[in-house]
Symmetry: C2
Subunit: 464 residues, 2 copies
């Protein structure tokens, strides 16, 4: 990028928030999946600055990659075509929490956990809880349509959006939605932006709907001899009219791998473990927990433990929460896919994915949100081993083919980004791609917003 | 339309499903808001027929207005620019109900009530319940993103869509979503189509998510001395962590007008009536009903009645359910707006709308879904009285201006169509309109789909 152009961008945000030293560029070149090559990093503080930056970038045809906390697992914020990284860290104010209208207005750089804590302190609840919630930004959650364990009962980020403020590719400011919970005025631009992975606009303000905080919860940890027993339990629970807050699945490979590294006392002889949480009014929670315990006794599960207070609950979550940290420690590189299928197809997906992993010689463990069919096959890899990565690529294609055959989707919550771009044609046909590209072209005719990603004809190979 | 062209369309669907006698054209010229002037009515039975019709219409530049049960209150299906009415009546099969994966696949012409009954017979539940549910079609519900009383607790049509099959303007078949409940693969075309009012495509198949049928419910009818008391009760109930299934509001003008016509024994001295319904597990329902009754006693409401079984419940609903039939009988023409505001703003909207009605001399009663701020000011009009209609138009503009000032929206569930087109600029600014039009142009470059509606520069004045 020419020095004269850099000077013009610097004029918009000032020298402290315009970074281009090699160290700064390197620091902003990564997300949790891959590495790009930015030429300039800008940290705007206002919608007006974002607008000015995009006006200039649009005029000059400079790529702009919006970046939240860069926790993307799919390479959504990797700046693969150079240009500008637009880092939203400094737009991090909670502008309003209304207990009366049960909503919050926040800037995109607010950490999800901070929003959780702020609204819970006044008796309200913001359900979406992606695994990265203690560091992820709300803006990134919206751009990804992030999910999380609690989404089984409460729905995903999309379901909590009332309105957005979005700066479009040409720098114009678009306001979508309203403060009303029902709104069918015009096209649903709020939800078009949600999950668009930074390719249609830069989110500068988010209005979220809040709900009353559940009164209490109960956690139940159960283990099974076979995959089928675990799967039947899921059907049984939901069939009994119980919609748990979470229904987390861990397979034997996960339990064994984590136990080997971390020595948590996990049941390595079990074929699967289910972590079940129910929340709501005390009476309902009590009854639902009783029904689940009854099922466990009647159908002879291997083991069942009930957490009756927050401390006991937290203990039951340990294997699920810190296990992935252990996995990261045990391998150079980890890819967590999020193939999602109708719940009846979970045993097929789990079994076939393990078969493929054995066939292709790739280390695999499987986690998942079993209640909504959102599985997380986690592959432990060596990114420097090109041959292994090529094998992994073939395995992924096979797995996604099966996923789509099951009526499922490539991604339940991580998005497509760079990672799943090569597999997109398994799910989205030519008409679908043409339609998405027509919308992209209508809103970003020069293609400056987050280029090189899922909509591109020729996706870019990422660095690590 | 030229005879030779009519012959080509007739060839696609056969002579029985290609109508153009004056009687048939008249029968298909209306929806519940206005009248248009179709030149041809086609009743396709398959996606292939819809696709062939659109290919030909696209080539010849013929307007196509998709039509469900024509229960639209906003003129969404009025064929104002002539051309073809595409009546979806005959695509009315329920293709699948899966209890295992809790989903149904249906054609657009399935009556909403039939879907309700079919899934409830196997213990499942499809929550959206627009007032017209006993005659409306699912396809129209999707095109409108229809709401209903139960949407307070359960969300609107949008929240139950897994995937759609849509024939685009050029006749290509687009498939969106999947059978998985979480799906973030590409842009959210499912929700872009939902609520697009027939302007982006013709829906030919709908996959909906189902939930377990609630175990039981309880209905509570309460009356109040003042609007404020009713409004405070709504805040109190939700503040107590109770999310009722429905929280229906009826104002004094409604009670008096309906009572005068129908003699149901409604409490005409009350300033407002709230019909509260809670559902779920027996224990929870029992406790929630008790809390609401306690509130009623402590805060001295005028009256409270509890329906403890389905028959008693149905009796309490009578005033709400058949009241509008009485209103229709009492006036030549009725317009039900659906101005929607954050709940704290309901008293302001109700009070100011009554003030406006008095000022402009228009008869008004107000219903509403109080829990989500979705009000229904219902105006009783004489459409042949041009001067009165002009006054009503000015009143509407004032009312919508106040609605938007309150952070609300022109439409919570009826859509914009023809009816609210003149007021759209109160809520959607130039950037918003430009963005919507860019999307429309990208997907329907010749503008053949449902022309003359909310996106048009110059909206068409409807006939009655």
């Amino acid at each position: 990028m020419k020095r004269s152009l850099i000077r013009r961008f610097r004029k918009i945000v000032g020298p402290e928030r315009c970074l281009h030293s090699p160290e700064d560029l390197y620091a902003y070149s990564h997300d949790c999946y891959a590495r790009g090559n930015p030429e300039l990093v800008l940290l705007p503080r206002t919608r007006e600055e974002v607008s000015s930056i995009l006006k200039l970038a649009h005029k000059e045809g400079i790529p702009v990659t919006p970046r939240g906390a860069a926790t993307s697992l799919s390479g959504m914020t990797t700046p693969v075509r150079g240009g500008i990284v637009l880092a939203m860290n400094q737009m991090n104010r909670i502008l309003e929490v209304s207990t009366e209208d049960r909503l919050a207005v926040v800037e995109p750089g607010v950490v999800t956990l901070r929003l959780h804590q702020t609204v819970e302190s006044v008796g309200l609840f913001y359900p979406p809880d992606p695994a990265s919630y203690s560091i992820s930004f709300i803006g990134g959650n919206v751009a990804t349509n992030a999910g999380g364990p609690r989404c089984l009962k409460y729905g995903v980020t999309r379901d909590y959006l009332l309105g957005l403020e979005v700066v479009l590719a040409d720098g114009e400011v678009l306001r979508t939605g309203s403060r009303a919970v029902k709104d069918v005025t015009g096209y649903d631009l709020t939800r078009l932006m949600c999950g668009s992975e930074g390719t249609l606009g830069v989110i500068t303000q988010v209005t979220v709907r809040l709900i009353p905080k559940p009164e209490t919860k109960r956690t139940i940890l159960t283990t099974y001899r076979t995959l089928e027993e675990a799967s039947e339990m899921v059907s049984r629970i939901i069939g009994a009219g119980i919609l748990p807050t979470t229904l987390e699945f861990m397979d034997q490979a996960y339990l064994r791998t984590v136990e080997e590294i971390m020595h948590l006392g996990l049941p390595t002889e079990a074929a699967a473990m289910l972590l079940i949480e129910v929340d709501g009014f005390e009476e309902t929670v009590e009854r639902q927990a009783r029904i689940v315990e009854d099922f466990c006794r009647r159908f002879h599960v291997l083991d069942v433990a009930v957490g009756r207070d927050p401390e006991e609950s937290d203990r039951l979550w340990i294997g699920r929460r810190i296990g992935t940290v252990g996995l990261m420690r045990s391998s150079k590189f980890m890819i967590s896919h999020d193939a999602t299928v109708p719940t009846s197809q979970i045993p097929r997906l789990v079994t076939e994915t393990h078969r493929l992993a054995a066939e292709y010689g790739i280390k695999l463990v499987i986690l998942g949100h079993a209640g909504d069919g959102n599985m997380h096959p986690i592959f432990l890899l060596d990114p420097d081993n090109e041959e292994e990565m090529a094998r992994f690529h073939r395995l992924s294609r096979e797995m996604f083919r099966i996923t789509v055959e099951c009526g499922g989707t490539l991604s339940g919550e991580h998005g497509i980004g760079l990672e799943k771009r090569p597999f997109l044609n398994l799910q989205v046909d030519a008409v679908g791609m043409r339609t998405m590209r027509a919308i992209k072209k209508a809103l970003d005719p020069k293609g400056i917003l987050n280029p090189g990603k899922f909509l591109d004809e020729e996706p870019t190979s990422p660095g690590r």
